[in-house]
């Protein structure tokens, strides 16, 4: 029972970056852009967040809240920069969405590693933030609440980004399904031609969705560098989470609320080997679990043809007004 509770707690912590990135990708795909560059945007956010916090420490001499705020803003902006590159290429310059996304993944990975090393040179060896900044990503102090057996561990033993990610998912669900703008965004994704003739600017919605989606992916990346790696730059810090997030979008059938429990399941799969050892099973084989699970989920969802009902019809296709 105790193992289960602590596994769930770890699953939520590990699933949070996935949830942020998945929400970002849902937002992007709902506008009709299939951005495969999540991995790249996460790398960009990861290094930008770390760099933001590190520079604040250098300038002001102390970290803490200010460093965390800068990390947050920088990560969002840098992820959004990735989204902007994608939008310029696919929406304005009409490049192939798949190839542009793949290039963004390659570029962003290079971007993260490049500036990670540059920053390392500057810091003299390797980058790390001070204890004050690290504390910003620790558990929130809920006082007696976290001491409640079981429930305390399940609900009150997380850092603030976990609650932030949950709020993002809920807000995104509300935005997409309950607001006028959300309706317009979905219209652009389902049938850009129809939306255009109704006076909705396809270009503006696709740009904004790519920017916002990229920013959320960047925050997911920041989580991995600041929380998972504790503010130290690690070269392979994203290690495929961006691709898992794209798979999660399919698993969650483009629904941000469903993405919450899907990301917890995948977070659990990726940390399970630390909590539930299976005797006789080598660790590397155990670590394959999330990837194997992704493949199985992809196959099952395609068999049940969930995808065809859920994927926005215009996703993956560029829209040219002249070519109708």
């Amino acid at each position: 029972m105790n193992t289960l509770v602590s596994l769930l707690n770890a699953a939520v912590l590990a699933g949070t970056p996935l949830l942020l990135a998945t929400c970002g990708e849902i937002l992007t795909e709902k506008s009709g852009s299939l951005n495969l560059g999540v991995e790249g945007m996460m790398y960009m956010g990861a290094i930008a967040g770390l760099a933001g916090a590190w520079y604040v420490e250098q300038w002001f001499g102390h970290g803490g809240l200010l460093a965390a705020v800068f990390a947050f803003v920088f990560a969002f902006l840098c992820g959004a920069l990735g989204g902007l590159i994608y939008a310029i290429l696919t929406v304005s310059l009409r490049a192939n969405q798949n190839v542009t996304g793949l290039t963004l993944a390659i570029f962003g990975t290079g971007f993260g590693k490049f500036f990670g090393e540059v920053l390392g040179h500057k810091a003299g060896g390797y980058v790390t933030v001070n204890a004050e900044t690290k504390a910003m990503y620790g558990r929130i102090n809920f006082g007696k609440l976290s001491e409640i057996p079981v429930l305390g561990t399940l609900f009150f033993k997380y850092n603030w980004l976990v609650y932030f990610a949950l709020a993002v998912a809920i807000l995104l669900g509300w935005f997409l399904n309950r607001t006028r703008k959300g309706l317009s965004l979905r219209a652009v994704g389902e049938s850009p031609g129809t939306a255009d003739s109704a006076g909705i600017s396809v270009t503006r919605y696709r740009y904004l969705a790519a920017l916002g989606g990229g920013g959320l992916c960047g925050l997911g990346g920041m989580y991995m560098s600041m929380v998972d790696q504790k503010g130290i730059w690690v070269h392979d810090c994203i290690s495929g989470y961006g691709w898992l997030a794209i798979a999660l979008v399919i698993f969650a059938t483009w629904n941000p609320l469903r993405a919450i429990y899907c990301s917890i399941i995948f977070g659990g799969l990726s940390v399970m080997y630390m909590y539930v050892p299976i005797s006789g099973l080598p660790l590397p084989i155990y670590r394959m679990f999330p990837y194997i699970a992704t493949i199985i989920v992809l196959i099952i969802t395609s068999m049940m043809q969930i995808k065809e009902h859920a994927q926005p019809a215009g996703t993956g296709l560029n829209y040219f007004r002249e070519e109708r």
């Binding site: 570029f107 290079g110 992809l298």
Partner: protein, 394 residues
């Protein structure tokens, strides 16, 4: 005019009919008719130069001299005989994997699992080597290499077949499927490293034995300082060109890429064609893995593929999926890789600069394609319109 100044609404004038001026958009995009070779070249060269300039800007930002950096990259990759040999050695797997990926991309089958397919080939090849080592090397050189090659082909083909099978059966997303196989291959190698039978004798460090030390036969001969994989790669480029352009199979691939429905309507067995092409694509990547094992690394690590599977996508796309153009492009990308290793040691610029630069170049190449198909029409100035109107009325 006076009405507008005072701000009162314009009353309908009985004499002059109100003229409504519709403002043209600032930039309009219209289709070009034909594109000459010269225009094409101009657009690509401009894009390429802009990409290099942006790269230079990045280098300036981190406080390095971009001219020096670029020059060092060239001399670092082609300056000496050894460094040129090294550059060409890096180009071999890029070319083979680029061609392999082009096969799949031509069908709009987004195979981004080149990395995993290379590793799968390398893994099965290594199994053969390990078996031979434990058998006491009682096997001839030619049979050993034949076995290694068959194993590599089988491994790569399997990793190509799986996503193709499910994609053609249920429409399973092939991008993610192929990608997940990459990670599975990497973890599999991590597992092999833990096995006693794969480690060098008398060590417990998780590392796979150096095949060259244990079994000298596996080393491929060299021609002009580079292992013979380069001859295979060049032959492959020619063969792939002929296969894609001159055979029925190649035609079928092209039709499926343009429109799956057309291919179906024409009575093609689209499912088999896609699976067949992915078997080839995977097998070629597997062969690239074999050449890495037997020609370059002489051991197996999780970085045996070293990002080649991803970079090959860039090679394939920059060459417009044409195997011949891939030859210079793969050498160019290899030059970036080797050159960035050189500037890492001489100028302390991180080697990841290569990935960054390749990404930027590809962004520009993708972006400039618009200017080949379309042309921008800027809004004519008011005086110019009046001149044109006068011309018409006169």
């Amino acid at each position: 005019m006076s009405d507008r100044k005072t701000g009162t609404p314009c009353p309908p004038s009985p004499e002059v009919p109100p003229v409504c001026v519709i403002k043209e958009p600032l930039v309009r995009i219209t289709k070009r008719g034909t594109v000459t070779r010269k225009q094409k070249l101009l657009v690509y060269v401009t894009g390429f130069v802009l990409a290099l300039l942006l790269g230079a800007l990045l280098l300036l930002i981190i406080g390095k001299n971009p001219v020096n950096a670029y020059l060092n990259m060239v001399t670092g990759s082609f300056g000496t005989k050894t460094s040129s040999a090294e550059t060409f050695r890096l180009a071999v797997p890029l070319l083979i994997a680029g061609i392999a990926i082009a096969f799949a991309f031509k069908m709009k089958f987004w195979n981004i699992g080149g990395e995993g397919q290379i590793l799968a080939g390398a893994i099965l090849s290594s199994h053969v080597v390990i078996a031979a080592i434990h058998a006491g090397a009682a096997i001839g050189t030619a049979p050993l290499h034949l076995l290694m090659i068959s194993a590599a082909i089988a491994g790569g083909a399997l990793f190509g077949f799986l996503p193709a099978f499910f994609k053609t059966k249920w429409g399973t997303n092939e991008t993610l499927f192929t990608l997940m196989l990459n990670y599975i291959a990497i973890e599999y190698i991590n597992n092999l490293k833990q096995l006693k039978s794969w480690q060098p004798p008398r060590t417990t460090f998780p590392k796979i034995i150096n095949f060259k030390d244990a079994l000298g036969q596996i080393v491929l001969p060299k021609v002009f300082g580079v292992h013979i994989g380069w001859i295979f790669a060049l032959t492959l480029a020619l063969a792939a060109f002929l296969y894609l352009k001159k055979t029925k199979h190649g035609y079928e691939i092209a039709v499926i890429g343009d429109s799956l429905n057309t291919a179906r309507y024409a009575g093609m067995n689209t499912r088999w064609i896609q699976i067949r092409t992915l078997l080839i694509s995977g097998a070629l990547c597997g062969l690239a893995g074999y050449f890495q094992i037997a020609g370059a690394d002489y051991t197996l690590t999780e970085t045996t593929a070293g990002g080649v599977g991803f970079t090959a996508i860039t090679v394939a796309w920059l060459s417009k999926l044409n195997p011949f153009i891939m030859i210079p492009v793969s050498v160019f990308i290899a030059m970036l890789k080797k050159g960035s290793l050189a500037i890492q040691s001489t100028m302390k610029i991180p080697a990841s600069a290569a990935d960054l630069l390749t990404g930027i170049i590809l962004f520009f190449m993708l972006g400039c394609e618009l200017f080949l198909e379309y042309r921008l029409v800027f809004r004519h100035s008011q005086t110019k319109i009046e001149e044109m109107l006068e011309e018409v009325s006169a």
